[in-house]
C-alpha cells in the first residue's frame, strides 16, 4: 500500500495504482479524454497533467499512467495546469469542426463539456479544415472522422477489449485518421464499443442520429435478457419508446456490451409481437379478450386434471423467466396443476450442472466468476465458442491473452476467433469427443506424477477409482478417437498442468455440441485433481445459454427439484414448501421434457403448459416433437411471438418482454441482478400476472402476490443461498449467491475454504468410446452466431439486417472439391432422409470435412437432423 496526498487529501491505495485512479478513489476529478478503466493507459490527450512534488522537486506529469508513490504530493488544479488544459483544448478545437448544434453527441460530448468547464473562448489559432473519412454504410455505426480528436479509444477498445482489431490509425501526421483497411465499411462483431467510448461524435450509433439528445432520454437500468452473463443495460427512452441502449460503467460488465445487448432490442417492438390472447375455435386460432382466454385455459387444464389426475398434465418452463416468475411457476405447477412433471431447456441443457457439478462439488453452479478469467494464465475452452455464445466472456480471455500472455487452448471442432490469438493451441477434435481429450489430459498429468496427492486427498475422494477408470485414456488412444495428434494433447496437458492460474470454460445450451455430462465431469475432475477448484482465476466455468439459466435451476424448474436444489423426494423439504405454498406437493420425481413428449405421443400425458420455450424449433428430433404435441388434448403456449409451437397450441397467451416487467435474473456466475420495468404503456401481461390469474380461476386464490419484491422475500425465506438477498440490496453490482444473511456480501468464489458436502467427489470416467462411422462424408455442426440466439433475435429487425438467415459455412477446400462458389445453393442430406437447402458461404470457422449451419433459424428446421442423444450428425452435401 502507498500513501500520497492529492489536493491536500491523504489517500492510501494499492501499489501499482495510477495517480488518476488514486484521485478517483479520493473523490477528486481529473479531466481526461482518452482514459477508460478497461484500457491500458495511453496518455494522448494530455488533459490529466498534474503537478507532483516528490523529494523536493515539482514536476508536471500525466496522471493516467504514472503510478502513485509514497509521499507524493499531487496538485490537480493549479493555475499553470488550468492554463495548460485550456491550451490543450484550444489545440484540439483547432481542427475539430464546431458543428455542435447538429452533432449527435452534443450534450454528451466530453470535449464540449470540458470546453464549457474551462471556459475556452474563440481560439487564437487559425482554424483548419481537412476532409477525412466518412462512413455511413456500416450497420449500426457511423464514422465521421472529421470530428475525431485522435484519442485512440476506439482503436484500443477494438484491439484490447474486443480482440476484433478492426480499426487502426492510418496515414501520418496531420492526415492521420482512424479507419479500417482501405476505408471499407465495418465487417466486425458490431458490438458498438467504439461508438460507446468515443468522447466526441466521431463514432456514433446510427439510431441516435436525429432521434434525441442524451439528456432528453429517460434512463432505466436493467439486465440484458439474451445470454447468461447478466450484463447491465441502460435503456434510454424518448416519448415512451426505447431509442437507445448503453451500459453503466459501474456494472459487472464495466460498460461493455455485445451486438445483441446493444443493438438487438428492436424485437420488443417487432410487428410479430402478439398483443391479444388467442384460443382455438373451430380448428383455428382466434383473437379473444383476456377473460375469455384465461377462463378457456383454466377450464382446459382443470378438465384434464379432473379426468385423469395431475400426473397427466405437464409443464415446460423457460430459462428466460425471471427468478420470481420461475418460482411462482414452480408453485403453480406443483400445487395448482398438482403435477411433478416440470422441466425446462429441453431437460438436458442444464444437466451438466445438476449431474456433474452438483454431485461432485456441492452446488450445481459454476464456482468462479467470469471476471476472474482476465487473470488466468491458461484458458482451456472445451467445445465453447464463446466469441459467438458469450462475447463479453470472450473479452476476458482476450484481456488475459493480451496483457498476461495467457494461452488459450481451444478443444473444438470449429475454428474460433480465439484460435488466431498469439500462443493459442488448437485441438481440432471430431465433434462430440471433447471429453476424451479432457480425460486424456488428466491421465497424462496423473501419469506424469504432476498431482499433489496429499492436498488432493484432503479435499476429494475417489482418486483411485478415477485413476483406474482412466487406464484406457492414453494420449495415443485419444488421438485415434478424436483425430488430434498425441503430441498436441500431451502439450495441452503440460501447459494446463504447469500454469499458475488455469481456467476451464464450457458452454451449455440446447443442441450444443459437446454439451454433455461426461464433458462436465471430465472438466471438474481435471480441475479438482490439479487443485484448481476454490482458486481465483482458475476453476471451471460453465456458461449457460439463456439470461436466467442459473436462476431457473435455482428455482427448481426440473422434474426432481424444488427451489433451492431440494429434492422433491425429500419429505422435510416438501413439508416446508407445502406449508408456505398452501397445497400438497407431489411426492416423487416427475417426467423430464423428453419423457413428457414421449408420454404425450403414447397418450398418457394429455395436457401441456409451455411457458417461454419453443420445443418444435429448439428441441432435437423435430418430427417426434411435432407428433407428440399434436396428439395432446390441450396445449397452452405462453410466448411473445407466434412460434412454431404456438401455431399448434389450443391457447396462446402473449407475454411481456424483458423491458416490460420487473424481477431478477441470476447470471451464470450466480450474480442476482434486478430487471426494471422500463416500458409502461403495454397491453402485454407478465408471466407472473398470468400465473396468479390462472391460479385464482383454478381454485387456488391463495396463490397471489403483491409484486415481485414480495416473491423475492418469500424466496429469501425458503432458499438458503438466497437468504440474504432483497431488492433493496441489489445495486448496480447485484449480489452473488450464496448470500446467506442480510450482511453477507455474497461469494464470487465457491469452495475456497472447503466443500459443503465435506469432500468433493471424483467421478470415474466412462469407458472409452469407439468412433462410429456411418459412411457419410461430412459433419453437420449446428452452430451459434453472435448475432442470434433464437426466437427473440430472429424477430429483431436490426440483427436480421446484419445477419440474415440461412447460410452453410464451409471450408475453402470443401467448396473447391464440390465445385461451389460462395452463394451457390447446396443441399444437405442426412442418413435419415432429412434435408435442407441453404446458400454456401466461405468461412474460416469451418474446418475441412464439416459444414456449419446456425440452428437459430426456425425456417431451416435444423432439428430435423438431430436426435436427443446425437447433436452432431454426418451428412452429404451436394450442389443444387
Amino acid at each position: 500500500m502507498v500513501t500520497l496526498t492529492i489536493d491536500g487529501v491523504e489517500v492510501t491505495v494499492e501499489r501499482g495504482t495510477t495517480i488518476l485512479e488514486a484521485a478517483q478513489q479520493a473523490g477528486i476529478r481529473i479531466p481526461t479524454l482518452c482514459h477508460d478503466k478497461r484500457l491500458i493507459p495511453y496518455g494522448s490527450c494530455r488533459l490529466c497533467m498534474v503537478e507532483v512534488t516528490a523529494r523536493g522537486r515539482t514536476r508536471t506529469m500525466p496522471a493516467c499512467f504514472n503510478p502513485a508513490r509514497d509521499g507524493m504530493e499531487v496538485a490537480t488544479h493549479t493555475e499553470n495546469l488550468i492554463y495548460s488544459r485550456k491550451m490543450q483544448l484550444m489545440l484540439l478545437l483547432r481542427s475539430h469542426p464546431l458543428l455542435c448544434p447538429s452533432c449527435d453527441a452534443a450534450g454528451d460530448c466530453q470535449l464540449q463539456n470540458l470546453v464549457h468547464e474551462y471556459e475556452v473562448g474563440e481560439p487564437p489559432f487559425a482554424r483548419e479544415s481537412r476532409y477525412f473519412h466518412v462512413d455511413n454504410e456500416s450497420h449500426f455505426i457511423r464514422h465521421n472522422m472529421n470530428l475525431c480528436i485522435r484519442c485512440g479509444m476506439c482503436v484500443r477498445i477494438c484491439d484490447e477489449v474486443q480482440g476484433q482489431r478492426e480499426l487502426s490509425f492510418v496515414n501520418r501526421g496531420m492526415e492521420c485518421e482512424v479507419s479500417t483497411d482501405f476505408g471499407r465499411p465495418l465487417d466486425c462483431e458490431f458490438c458498438g464499443q467504439c461508438a460507446s467510448v468515443c468522447p466526441v461524435g466521431a463514432i456514433t450509433s446510427k439510431w441516435l442520429v436525429g432521434t434525441g439528445r442524451q439528456f432528453e432520454l429517460k434512463k432505466t437500468d436493467t439486465t440484458c435478457a439474451f445470454c447468461s452473463l447478466g450484463c447491465r443495460l441502460t435503456l434510454g427512452e424518448k416519448n415512451d419508446k426505447i431509442v437507445y441502449v448503453d451500459s453503466p460503467h459501474a456494472g459487472p460488465n464495466e460498460g461493455s456490451l455485445c451486438v445483441k445487448g446493444r443493438y438487438g432490442w428492436p424485437y420488443v417492438y417487432a410487428e410479430q409481437r402478439l398483443t391479444k390472447p388467442l384460443i382455438r375455435k373451430d380448428g383455428s386460432l382466434r383473437e379473444v379478450d383476456w377473460n375469455e382466454a384465461l377462463a378457456f385455459v383454466a377450464n382446459g387444464l382443470m378438465k384434464v386434471k379432473n379426468a385423469t389426475g395431475g400426473s397427466s398434465l405437464g409443464a415446460i418452463g423457460s430459462a428466460r423467466l425471471t427468478n420470481e416468475e420461475a418460482y411462482v411457476f414452480n408453485r403453480f405447477v406443483r400445487t395448482v396443476m398438482e403435477t411433478a412433471n416440470l422441466d425446462h431447456a429441453g431437460g438436458h441443457a442444464y444437466r451438466p450442472l445438476t449431474d456433474a457439478f452438483g454431485p461432485a462439488l456441492g452446488y450445481p453452479a459454476s464456482p468462479n466468476s467470469v471476471r476472474e478469467l482476465r487473470d488466468a494464465d491458461v484458458v482451456v475452452l472445451f467445445g465453447a465458442d464463446i466469441t459467438e455464445t458469450h462475447p463479453i466472456a470472450k473479452n476476458e480471455v482476450i484481456a488475459a491473452n493480451g496483457r498476461r500472455k495467457a494461452r488459450p487452448i481451444i478443444v473444438d471442432s470449429i475454428q474460433t476467433k480465439l484460435t488466431e490469438r498469439m500462443g493459442s493451441l488448437f485441438l481440432q477434435v471430431r465433434p462430440g469427443t471433447e471429453y476424451v481429450i479432457a480425460n486424456a489430459m488428466l491421465k497424462w498429468i496423473i501419469d506424469g506424477d504432476m498431482v499433489d496427492k496429499k492436498a488432493l486427498d484432503l479435499r476429494a475422494n475417489g482418486f483411485d477409482e478415477l485413476t483406474a477408470s482412466l487406464a484406457e485414456y492414453t494420449v495415443e488412444n485419444a488421438a485415434r478417437i478424436t483425430g488430434v495428434s498425441a503430441h498436441l494433447i500431451a502439450e495441452a496437458a503440460k501447459v494446463y498442468a504447469e500454469a499458475g492460474n488455469a481456467a476451464i470454460v464450457l458452454a451449455s445450451g440446447m443442441n450444443r455440441v459437446g454439451n454433455t455430462v461426461e464433458l462436465a465431469q471430465a472438466a471438474v475432475n481435471l480441475a479438482l485433481v490439479t487443485g484448481r477448484i476454490g482458486k481465483r482465476s482458475s476453476g471451471v466455468h460453465l456458461l449457460s445459454e439463456k439470461a436466467n439459466s442459473q436462476g431457473a435451476l435455482d428455482m427448481g424448474l426440473a422434474p426432481d427439484l424444488l427451489p433451492g436444489f431440494h429434492r422433491i423426494e425429500d419429505e422435510a423439504a416438501r413439508a416446508k414448501f407445502s406449508e408456505v405454498w398452501d397445497g400438497a406437493i407431489p411426492e416423487s420425481k416427475g417426467l423430464s421434457a423428453r419423457e413428457m413428449l414421449d408420454n404425450a405421443e403414447s397418450g398418457e400425458l394429455r395436457g401441456l403448459y409451455v411457458v417461454g420455450e419453443n420445443p418444435v424449433d429448439s428441441y432435437p428430433d423435430r418430427g417426434r416433437v411435432e407428433k407428440a404435441l399434436s396428439s395432446l388434448e390441450f396445449l397452452v403456449v405462453q410466448d411473445m411471438f407466434m412460434t412454431s409451437t404456438a401455431k399448434v397450441a389450443h391457447a396462446v397467451l402473449p407475454v411481456a418482454s424483458f423491458a416490460e416487467k420487473s424481477g431478477t435474473y441470476t447470471s451464470t456466475d450466480r450474480r442476482v441482478q434486478r430487471l426494471t420495468r422500463a416500458i409502461k404503456n403495454t397491453s402485454a401481461k407478465s408471466d407472473l400476472e398470468l400465473f396468479t390469474a390462472l391460479a385464482a380461476m383454478m381454485g387456488k386464490p391463495s396463490l397471489t402476490y403483491a409484486g415481485s419484491e414480495q416473491i423475492m422475500e418469500e424466496i429469501a425465506r425458503l432458499v438458503e443461498v438466497y437468504a440474504g438477498i432483497s431488492y433493496g440490496r441489489l445495486g448496480t453490482q447485484g449480489l452473488v449467491w450464496p448470500c446467506v444473511d442480510p450482511d453477507d456480501q455474497g461469494k464470487e468464489l465457491l469452495y475456497e475454504g472447503g466443500f459443503p458436502i465435506g469432500k468433493a467427489h471424483l467421478v470415474p470416467a466412462p469407458t472409452l468410446p469407439e468412433p462410429s462411422d456411418d459412411g457419410l462424408p461430412m459433419y453437420l455442426i449446428p452452430a451459434v452466431l453472435k448475432f442470434h440466439s433464437g426466437s427473440m433475435s430472429e424477430r429483431s429487425s436490426s440483427l436480421l439486417e446484419v445477419c440474415p438467415p440461412g447460410t452453410a459455412e464451409m471450408n475453402a477446400k470443401d467448396l473447391k472439391a464440390l465445385g461451389l462458389k460462395e452463394g451457390d445453393t447446396v443441399k444437405i442430406t442426412s442418413g435419415n432422409g432429412a434435408s435442407v437447402q441453404v446458400a454456401a458461404k466461405w468461412s474460416r470457422r469451418a474446418v475441412e470435412g464439416s459444414v456449419i449451419v446456425p440452428y437459430h433459424f426456425s425456417a431451416l428446421k435444423l432439428n430435423t437432423f438431430t436426435k436427443w442423444d446425437q447433436p452432431v450428425v454426418k451428412v452429404k452435401v451436394e450442389k443444387v
Binding site: 476532409y131 466518412v134 482489431r165 478492426e166 480499426l167 490509425f169 492510418v170 479500417t180 483497411d181 498469439m422
Partner: protein, 171 residues
C-alpha cells in the same frame, strides 16, 4: 464531403485485382520466412514491395493472414511510412528535395519543369508508367542543392534547365 466520398470510392475501384493469384504466389517465400510473426511486418512489407513494386490490397491481406496481424494494422503501417506505396509506381521514382536550401536554389523551378514536361504532380505516376514524382523534405545533401534522386542516382547542383536532359536518360 461528398466530393471526398466520391474520390474515396473511385480510389477503391482502382485498387481492385491487379495482381492475379498466380503472381501472388511470389509472396509465399516471404510469408514462409516470417510466418505467424507479427514483429517482422516491416521487413516483410519491404520485401513484398521489392517483388511487386507496390503493396496492393491482395498483398496486404495475404501478409496480414500469414503474419497473424489484423489487416487494418497492416494498412495503418503501410500508410504511415512514405516508403511504402499502395499505388503502382513508375519505373523511375523522382525524389525531389523541397527543403529550404534546395528551395532557394531553384527546386521550385525544377518541380514546375517536371510538372509541365512529364505531366505529373507530386505523388502521381505518368501514364506511360515511366516516372513517379515524390517531394521530400530533405535528402541531407544541402551542399548539392538543388538536388533530386532518380531511382538510386543522385543529381546535385542541378541547373533547372538541365532537368529535361537528365530525365531523358531514364527511359
Amino acid at each position: 464531403m461528398e466530393e471526398r466520398d466520391a474520390i474515396l470510392k473511385k480510389k477503391r475501384e482502382a485498387d481492385r485485382v491487379i495482381i492475379t493469384p498466380d503472381e501472388l504466389e511470389q509472396l509465399d517465400p516471404v510469408i514462409e520466412k516470417y510466418y505467424g510473426n507479427p514483429g517482422y511486418l516491416i521487413p516483410a512489407l519491404k520485401e513484398a514491395q521489392e517483388i511487386f513494386g507496390y503493396l496492393p490490397q491482395e498483398v496486404q491481406y495475404k501478409l496480414a493472414v500469414g503474419l497473424n496481424i489484423p489487416a487494418s494494422h497492416v494498412y495503418g503501417v503501410v500508410t504511415f511510412y512514405s516508403f511504402f506505396t499502395i499505388q503502382p509506381r513508375g519505373r523511375h521514382v523522382i525524389r525531389l528535395c523541397l527543403g529550404t536550401a534546395c528551395y532557394v536554389k531553384g527546386a521550385k523551378e525544377i518541380l514546375e519543369i517536371v510538372q509541365r514536361e512529364v505531366g505529373i504532380d507530386v505523388g502521381q505516376t505518368s501514364d506511360d508508367g515511366r516516372f513517379t514524382l515524390e517531394a521530400v523534405r530533405c535528402l541531407g545533401a544541402c551542399g548539392l542543392a538543388p538536388v533530386f534522386l532518380v531511382g538510386e542516382n543522385t543529381h546535385g547542383n542541378v541547373i533547372p534547365g538541365q532537368t529535361v536532359k537528365i530525365l531523358d536518360g531514364y527511359q
